[in-house]
Symmetry: none
Subunit: 214 residues, 4 copies
DNA sequence: TATGAATGAGAATTCATTCAT
DNA sequence: CATGAATGAATTCTCATTCAT
């Protein structure tokens, strides 16, 4: 009832685990959670089906492990950048935008985002984790930027400063939008994310009508 | 032995079809495409499972029918509004925003959006349809508003006008963001969509730093 | 993805259910719960694997249904016999013994007993059901026989009457023993159940040393 | 780099084997053969899974080893007792009953009995072994007791003497019954084994109707 | 000897789809 | 047109057994 197989590298456990996660990311991203076959994950990882279960309790644990393992870094980098930054608010915002842009253009990070967007709501624990580890710090970074800008006298419009402080989501909206767009309309009408981000920032900073809000 | 279910009589084919689509929307929205059971759709629609196949070729056709049937109206309304509108650009933008807000707060429309967001990429035909029927006209509406605003002298900042013309998506971004947010973080930290839209408009119209973009 | 199959008799649902239960009894009796394959049950019942799940929620429900459906009759028959009986206590006991003997020699009933013996302890609900529906009434029948025998002056030894009233199990013990024996030592040294029952009755009624218990 | 697990040193092979068997008894008794996991056996024995295979060829060999190793003693003790005994037949029977009672109340011996009862029939070799090593001598002991009782004039009823000689199983029946009962109805209605044995012996020795068998 | 990671055959369960009535 | 019982391919998860170290 068993092995005729060739043997296996000294491949330590961590590397094996990483192989599995990488394979799982590909397969889940390509098919979604429900349509992903663990068989395919195993094949892609170069292990037997049963081996997956040595590293993850079940399909869901694999999926959640995958997301969690790939999610953390962003806000750390952002807040690191923030504390060291010496330039103007505009430059700081642009730097953050560049960071986010790089992020959504990294295949792996992008796949994770797509999975969070399309599957996250079916995994409440994952959503809570994501909110706590990524979203909350992310919002904090934006609020810190606004506070810094106001303090330095570079953000002069109080209503807008307050609006962005209340809803830092506004700054992330275009990135989310770009990801959803290209996930969906890739073939029909791909969106140039960098150009979109650029235009979006111009709008956010300058405003459509130069200050009069009504 | 006359009919034992007279209640079913008035149901003509179209009504039956509508029942099925309504049931399908609920079930697909609650579970996603892959996890939705046609059994549940049939039960919710009050028909037998086999009956579904008299109206739709298969599960996918039902899903696509569902989306298509529920998608159309928006841009029509928007462009209707546009041609009749007499107020200022700000007012017009606010009117459009109110329209979009109402839209994402209509349960049925919201469910369709969520399905498009999370499943759309797995149905290229659907994506193409959506792009053609909804997205393109939607972008057109925004471009028309910008053109009208510039023509009326209400939009005075050329770079921003051009940015929004190039990427009308900027105006839809917060609504998409709000939907994704509440789809995912509903339980953790629900987002007040109206307040978010309000703040977003303030930023879009006024700009963070009153015009200086750098 | 589907049927090329020949079609199926008007076979009403009850008959189909009975087919499945009969097949399941064979397969479970032959292999035990854990080793029984539902594939085999389906094949033996002449249905597809999925069909089993139209009648029973899962493997355990099938097993429990099987036991419950085959268990009831015994004590009913016995107490029926009891109320109508006109002969002596010895004759009544012999009649009961004959009944039990017939019971354990009915293949189907025997299989159920064997399953209860070897698997019952892993299904507490089943054990409770069995105890309530079969064992309790069975013990009652024996107690009634003893009471009747004492009342008629046919059972004259009070200590023994009390012993059997306290532990009516004593009357069932040899039948249980016979079943376990033949289930286990069938091939090595089969036990003639009728002869064993006969000898047992002689011991029970007459006693080894004619009454002196010490 | 000397040994890091000196605690294991004194453990010679026999002790290790005994550890495994003890662990296996627990695990098999708790779950039955099919549901027992060798993983659990290994953990309980404090060895690695592969180690089991250094001591036993496979799962079945472990199970059989387990039974065989735990089965032998009983009849030896009984026949030892028999040859030395000086009291009356009643006393001798009571002594045997006490022995059997002690036996079924020893956790380890009880577990083995339960395993033999519920799994034995699936292991013909084991059944044959058990029959040869335990059952046959056990029956012999009872026959010897009867012969001795007749010879000493303490068993005066020939038909009963012959019945018990033909079917010494009658004397073991209550113990088997008690084990099966408590294995199954433990939670619902536990049986006091000592009291049951007592009453059973009273019946066996005295008879229900003091000698008249019909 | 001992280890325990890896294997993969095997079994339960699900559900879209068909079709006889 | 409508029904819903039946089908069986597909997929997850388990665990005895092996073998490189």
């Amino acid at each position: 009832m068993t092995s005729l197989s060739p043997a296996r590298r000294p491949h330590d456990k961590a590397a094996r685990r990483a192989d599995i996660l990488a394979a799982a990311l590909e397969v889940f991203a390509a098919n979604g959670f429900a349509n992903a076959r663990l068989d395919d994950v195993a094949r892609a990882a170069g292990v037997a089906k049963g081996t997956l279960y040595l590293y993850f309790a079940d399909k869901q644990a694999l999926f959640e492990g995958l997301i969690k393992e790939n999610l953390a870094p962003i806000p750390d980098v952002a807040s690191g950048m923030l504390s060291a930054f010496e330039g103007s608010t505009s430059e700081l915002i642009r730097a953050l935008v560049a960071l986010l842009l790089a992020r959504i253009q990294t295949p792996q990070a992008r796949q994770v985002m797509q999975l969070m967007i399309s599957e996250g709501h079916r995994f409440p624990d994952l959503a809570a984790f994501h909110y706590r580890e990524v979203v909350t710090p992310g919002l904090g970074v934006v609020r810190a930027i606004v506070a810094r800008g106001v303090a330095r006298g570079e953000i002069r419009r109080a209503p807008q400063a307050e609006a962005l402080t209340r809803h830092p989501q506004a700054l992330f909206a275009p990135f989310l939008t770009a990801v959803v767009w290209n996930m969906t309309f890739d073939k029909v009408a791909p969106l140039d994310e960098a150009a979109f981000a650029e235009d979006y920032i111009a709008l956010l900073l300058g405003g459509l009508n130069g200050g009069e809000t009504s």
